[in-house]
């Protein structure tokens, strides 16, 4: 029984295919190369196109939101006169 358990262990350790094995390898050197490239980009945009998109979405939300807050503040500070 123990022999079959041991061989089960060996099989489970060997079943990771080459595709998913790449995900378990150390990819930090690749990232280090990407983020140390001398391209003048600031760190918040240096990762690629997704960085720019996220930045624009965040800016859009906060700028639009701040404008809306100021609008509501104006409305709230001028109460409707009641007859």
């Amino acid at each position: 029984m123990w022999r079959s358990l041991l061989s089960l262990r060996q099989i489970s350790q060997r079943t990771i295919s080459t595709a998913s094995r790449r995900q378990l390898e150390n990819r930090v050197p690749e990232k280090q190369k990407l983020f140390q490239e001398d391209n003048g980009l600031p760190v918040y945009l240096k990762g690629g196109a997704m960085d720019g998109l996220l930045y624009r979405v965040t800016m859009g939300l906060t700028v639009f939101g701040t404008g809306y807050v100021l609008y509501e503040l104006m409305v709230a500070s001028m109460p409707k006169k009641q007859k």
Binding site: V28, V43, L54, Y55, V57, L61, G65, E72
Partner: protein, 261 residues
Amino acid sequence: MAHQAHSYHMVDPSPWPIFGAAAALLTTSGLIMWFHYNSSALLATGLLSMLLVMLQWWRDIVRESTFQGHHTPTVQKGLRYGMILFITSEAFFFLGFFWAFFHSSLVPTPELGGQWPPTGIKPLNPMEVPLLNTAILLASGVTVTWAHHSITEGNRKHAIHALTLTILLGFYFTALQAMEYYEAPFSIADSVYGSTFFVATGFHGLHVIIGSTFLTVCLLRLIKFHFTSNHHFGFEAAAWYWHFVDVIWLFLYMTIYWWGS
């Protein structure tokens, strides 16, 4: 290319501080819109932008440290001071709620029946789920220490196992506490007993969720080989925070749950 003659980190200009301030404005204004004008759009925008700022700011810190190498020992020392000071400020935050509890429970007013727990309040049995929760958090303190030792010893497999176990214990605590909240025979509206109980344990629960999230980020970084055996401050900060959350629970358990029952 010019090189600096010091070991400090001169950061790239970043939009996150001002966007973070704007997000705080939107969130607080959003609360007012929700409370007084029955509109939750601004609050949702505020919380979403807060989340986006946090994700991108901390993502950038990982880039600056692990990928760009800016976290010299000098920088790390500053980060250690910073985390200690932050946790200290959180300790004072909870001190306020403990003060409120003792203010009301040491001298119970006639309106409460002159006793603590107040008349009509059936407190939770401290020897049931709260005791289990205590054991869970204490065990998670052991597992997070095991994870730390595994990291310093270079044992990747044990570190991943121990940190995963810590996070699972944190989730187990949160699930049990949520169930207790649902099943409790008293609510936050039930006199100052309900107020002190749910505000103190509620903020603690929020900190457990924050701590679990921090640990989960560390687990992902651990799996992605970000930590070395002698440089893993992100993990240490998470572990300190987690121990703090555990200590706060022990005080909550001894005072509100046990002495207060």
